[in-house]
Amino acid sequence: MKSLKVITQIAASAMLLFAAAQPALAAQDPTGSKQTTYPGLSSDALEKFGGEAGVHNWVQALFYYILLDNRINKIFVEHGNIERQIALNTQLEQMVLGGAVQYQGASMSAAHADLGITLTQFNAVVEAAYNACERVNTPYSVCNQLIAALAPFERSIVTR
């Protein structure tokens, strides 16, 4: 029964890895500085995104697609002022890309705690994010710098 032994070993190593992974799976909130990713974001990510103006354009495009998406638009309309969300997101996105900008909004967990956001809804926003990059002619590889910077917030935003 050598095969059984190997499977047991594989399962045991998987569980060990899982245990080791636990501390890293805590909710992710904005830390007031550039997002840490593996590998790291390119140093000129914000510049390639077009600086503050470029990020602002992207956020406007993002909300354009979000508000057109019948799967998710109600959540955004019912919970908060769209103009304010655009302003706060422009701060947040610059900050996570490494800009010297302070995000003044609530933490991701606090802002989404009561909304019961599903992963399906979160993914719909990611699709809107890619559409927004195309809309403002930000190349896919530059867009992925921002996707990488925002992705860990999934753990704070998705609560169901």
Partner: protein, 330 residues
């Protein structure tokens, strides 16, 4: 007719599955269960054993576009055209709450050239080798299951922990006479694997490493084990995919193969023909490589094209050729 008998054997279980599905999905439950909420392309494609993954390697991702909020499935057809073989793989798979994946695939491998010669020779003298003078066919049923264990391949960009899944296949090769001729020790066997997948968005790259515990020869198409028995071993597989845009990926894959039949000749009904006597009757097995491009025009369709470099396959060298795979998700 052999193929039809093979299909008939699974009809009762298929019927049972359909009945369960019907019970489950009646009364509007389907609307709540169905989910296609994954981001485009993140469901991967269907590998030749039917599991979600790359072209030849199972990944830790669960097939289809269902998130943890529901279920989703897909069907696939894959055609590989090699100088002396053609592989047709057709199957279906379902992903349950992005946690469990179940798959079934029917692989049909048709052979030519050297097999025709051997078949012509042996059928002339009346030896039952499983090799026909023309169009010798190998049919294999592959049942697969996979469970996502931990990790998040896509969103945890702030750590290096991959998404990890464990899975297995049960493969039933129906050309037992041919496998005996090739000296494989078994025609039915299971394989187990552990897969780790991670997307690195800052470099637009997906990395997958899989370790498969198996005794398969040519993924089981030429059976399992050899004259020395059916000893399983751990063989690594790697997929690297570079994301060109949200609906296109290019990449390469590697799959380690075993040497159960390496240097063996063929056993013609008890008579083991010395390989060097007939030169081309010595078997070899090479590791597999492929380079692919996958298109995801919508969540309902993916098209994967690849150049597969499979090296020596049993009696025939230099088996490189084109691979095309269509997957429809629903």
């Amino acid at each position: 007719m052999k193929g039809l008998i093979g299909v008939n054997r699974y009809l009762p279980s298929c019927a049972a599955l359909l009945a369960v599905s019907a019970a489950l999905f009646s009364g509007g439950a389907w609307a709540d269960l169905y989910n296609d909420g994954k981001v485009l392309a993140t469901g991967g494609v269907s590998m030749t054993d039917g599991a979600g993954g790359g072209g030849i390697t199972p990944w830790a991702t669960i097939t289809g576009y269902g998130t943890r909020d529901g279920i989703n499935g897909d069907v696939h057809y894959t055609y590989v055209n090699l100088p002396n073989y053609a592989l047709n793989s057709i199957g279906a798979a379902v992903g349950l709450w992005d946690r469990v994946e179940l798959s079934y695939t029917n692989d049909v491998l048709t052979t030519g050239s050297t097999f025709n010669t051997v078949g012509l020779l042996t059928s002339t003298v009346g030896l039952p080798t499983g090799i026909a003078p023309w169009n010798t066919t190998i049919k294999m049923d592959v049942f697969g299951a996979k469970v996502r264990v931990f990790g998040e391949a896509i969103y945890d960009s702030d750590n290096l922990i991959p998404q990890v899944a464990i899975g297995g296949f049960y493969k039933i090769n129906h050309n037992r006479a041919l496998l005996k001729t090739l000296q494989a020790s078994k025609s039915k066997d299971w394989e187990a694997y552990i897969a780790a997948t991670k997307i690195f968005f800052p470099i637009n790259t997906l990395v997958n490493v899989t370790l498969r515990y198996t005794a398969a020869n040519e993924t089981g198409l030429t059976g399992f084990g050899g004259p020395k028995g059916n000893k399983r071993e751990i063989r690594p597989e790697v997929s690297l995919a570079y994301l060109l845009n949200k609906g296109t990926a290019i990449g390469v894959e590697y799959q380690k193969h075993g040497g159960n039949l390496e240097g063996q000749s063929v056993d013609l009904n008890g008579l083991v023909v010395p390989g060097d006597l007939l030169g081309s009757l010595t078997q070899h097995e090479s590791d597999w490589y492929d380079a692919f491009i996958a298109f995801f025009p919508s969540k309902n369709l993916s098209i994967t094209m690849a150049y597969a470099m499979l090296g020596n396959i049993t009696l025939t060298p230099n088996q490189s050729g084109y691979y095309i795979s269509l997957q429809a998700s629903f």
